[in-house]
């Protein structure tokens, strides 16, 4: 009798299980990129604190620093365009990376005044552990995103035990563009105590409004994963690479089915220090590794952005060791070759011990035809650069010149 009862109960749960599976959303294509026509140069008379532009009538990129919080160490800045055209930045700050006092800060950039607001605290370790109902030892990379309903969502890394290999991803949601935040929720993405999933790169929308979040593992394996996110849940995931050689994927979407992921290489010393690449032809359901992008990578994060007209941008350290040089590269929509359009930082001339670190770039566009770049400056500050549409168009036109100048070759080294 007991056995019959248990089997009847199993049958009931089987039916519920099948209905549950049936209610799961089908995998959707990537959201179409809205075609944006690059406008005429907008007024960019702000003074540049950095470098020269090759044409005097085009304003050079605007350079700024994210507000100083007084923390000894800052890192992992990320950006998101706000509904009113401003830019909100997130970064973590504390006595050192991985310290218990690390908090996630935020500030807003006003494009009219070209100034950053005073920093605010988004979340600290204690608030995270209270909300997640478990001990949290430290906080890590924050990555903002826009939900289909317009709310702002922040994914961030938390660690309960061990180093970054023990990371998990948590998320909070804001109804007021980042002023207040919901209670944090944990994303479950690994079967082994949910250990070792991190985020670094921006999410991309699917046509059905859900998000594709490029994530990565760096424990036993070091590989990329593509998480399909519905609000605060992982509803599917796909492996983007395998082994121990590629983390921090950045995804370039070409069309609703096709995308390319570039990775930070983490290979052993005898292997090529170049950018690993994976491709998908079915909107991220399956990924295949392909030939490396022949740009040097010193085990350092890469940032990528596709503008509305298809032009792609990359910010990275194009050297095999160290992080003392950071460059911006550009590639027309139909071209294969990346070319350096601006050297953002370069301390090659300095002795090794005097070189600073310029790392963790993060690129976004506020309107599809400009670019904002944030990156860690010597772990002490976060630098923000704004590239106007006019500047980007000028750089693009220079790409079109035959047999480009010597700088254009640097990206191919």
């Amino acid at each position: 009798m007991s056995r019959v009862l248990s089997l009847c109960f199993l049958l009931l749960t089987a039916i519920m299980g099948f209905l549950h599976l049936d209610s799961r959303p089908a995998w959707a294509p990537f959201a179409e990129l809205a075609p944006i026509v690059i406008e005429e140069p907008i007024d960019q008379e702000k003074s540049s604190k950095t470098q020269q532009s090759s044409k005097p009538n085009i304003a050079a990129p605007i350079s700024n620093w994210l507000p100083d919080t007084g923390a000894a160490s800052v890192h992992a800045a990320s950006l998101i365009a706000m509904k009113d055209g401003a830019i909100r930045a997130f970064w973590f700050a504390g006595s050192r990376e991985g310290a218990p006092d690390v908090i996630i800060n935020s500030a807003v950039y006003d494009p009219q005044s070209a100034n950053w607001s005073a920093p605010t605290v988004v979340i600290d370790r204690l608030a995270a552990q209270s909300g997640l109902s478990r001990y949290i030892a430290k906080l890590g990379n924050p990555v903002p995103s826009r939900m289909a309903d317009g709310r702002m969502q922040l994914f961030f890394v938390t660690v309960s035990i061990g180093g970054w290999a023990g990371s998990s991803i948590s998320t909070i949601i804001s109804d007021d563009e980042g002023i207040t935040w919901s209670r944090p929720q944990r994303l479950i993405s690994s079967p082994f105590f949910n250990l070792s999933t991190l985020v670094k790169s921006p999410a991309l929308p699917f046509a059905d409004g859900r998000l594709g979040l490029p994530a990565y593992h760096e424990w036993i394996g070091r590989f990329g994963e593509f998480l399909r996110i519905e609000a605060t849940q992982v509803i599917d995931k796909r492996r983007m690479s395998s082994g121990r050689s590629a983390i921090q994927p950045v995804v370039f979407v070409k069309d609703p089915q096709t995308a390319t992921a570039l990775f930070r290489q983490t290979r052993s010393s005898e292997l090529a220090k170049q950018i690993p690449v994976s491709q998908t032809l079915d909107a991220g359901q399956t990924w295949q590794s392909s030939e490396d992008l022949s740009i040097a990578n010193p085990n350092s994060a890469v940032a990528g952005l596709t503008l509305g007209n298809g032009i792609r941008l990359l910010a990275l350290n194009n050297i095999e060791a160290g992080r003392y040089r950071l460059v911006l590269l550009m590639k027309p929509a139909q071209a294969d070759q990346w070319q350096v359009v601006r050297v953002l930082e370069d301390e090659e001339a300095l002795p090794n011990e005097q070189r600073k670190e310029f790392s963790y770039p993060y690129l976004i566009s506020a309107n599809g035809n400009d670019a904002h770049l944030a990156y860690t400056w010597d772990r002490k500050k976060i630098r923000h650069l704004y590239f106007s549409p006019a500047w980007l168009m000028q750089a693009y036109e220079q790409l079109a010149l035959p047999a480009s100048d010597a700088n254009s070759k640097q990206g191919q080294r």
């Binding site: 007991s2 056995r3 248990s6 089997l7 109960f9 199993l10 009931l12 749960t13 089987a14 519920m16 299980g17 099948f18 209905l19 549950h20 599976l21 799961r24 204690l126 552990q129 209270s130 909300g131 997640l132 109902s133 478990r134 001990y135 949290i136 309960s160 035990i161 209670r183 929720q185 944990r186 994303l187 479950i188 690994s190 079967p191 082994f192 105590f193 949910n194 593992h217 424990w219 036993i220 394996g221 070091r222 590989f223 605060t232 849940q233 992982v234 509803i235 599917d236 995931k237 796909r238 492996r239 395998s242 082994g243 121990r244 990924w287």
Partner: protein
């Protein structure tokens, strides 16, 4: 996960800690505890793990355990609770063997070996659900009714999104279940060998 369900998850973890402490106490004791004693002991320890104790700790003890283990699978949780707090016969060797076999294939692949990720099947794979149901059916056919109930409840918890995970694997398998299966199998094999050796000594021809 709805906010108040975090408290349920914490209660679940606190009960599990209470049950484990009770089981450890029973294992170390020469006397056999009666079930009321086991229930009382488990309830007492559960309360110690659930309520904030202060003493320099920012959270209840269960929150520290949960930080390390995450939410345990429903299969492990119910198996543990029922084995300690209810009268039950030992889990079958074939169940332990099956858990070990699945775990040895599952974890290396799920943790990054190659491009096939069986963990991803847990989100929406009909094949995995059918596999779990067949496994439960085999448990029923072989007479292990408790296994059928446990697996059915695990599926129900997955459907109802009882834990933070939406992945079926997280409801039916976890690393601690695999470790328990390995240790329990080794233990029972050692016990069998001991019994066999003793019986051989007593009844050998001579």
């Amino acid at each position: 996960m709805i906010d108040w369900m975090q408290n349920l998850a914490l209660i679940e973890m606190a009960i599990t800690c209470g049950v484990i402490v009770t089981w450890l106490a029973q294992s170390l004791s020469d006397r056999t505890f009666s079930f009321p004693v086991k229930w009382f002991m488990a309830a007492l320890v559960t309360n110690i793990f659930f309520w904030p104790l202060g003493l320099g700790m920012e959270l209840p003890l269960a929150a520290y355990v949960r930080a390390v283990t995450g939410d345990l699978s429903i299969v492990l949780t119910l198996l543990l609770w029922s084995s300690v707090l209810l009268p039950s016969r030992p889990t079958s060797i074939s169940f332990k063997l099956a858990i070990i076999l699945v775990s040895f294939m599952f974890y290396p692949l799920a943790l990054g070996l190659g491009m096939i990720d069986p963990y991803a099947w847990g989100y929406s794979s009909l094949g995995l659900l059918i596999g779990v149901l067949v496994f439960a059916l085999v448990c029923g056919i072989t007479g292990w009714t408790k296994g059928v109930w446990i697996i059915a409840l695990a599926i129900l918890a997955w459907v109802g999104h009882w834990h933070e995970s939406t992945n079926l694997w997280d409801y039916v398998l976890d690393p601690l279940l695999a470790i328990w299966a390995v240790m329990a199998l080794a233990n029972s094999m050692q016990r069998k060998r001991r019994v066999k050796a003793r019986s051989g000594y007593l009844f050998r021809a001579g």
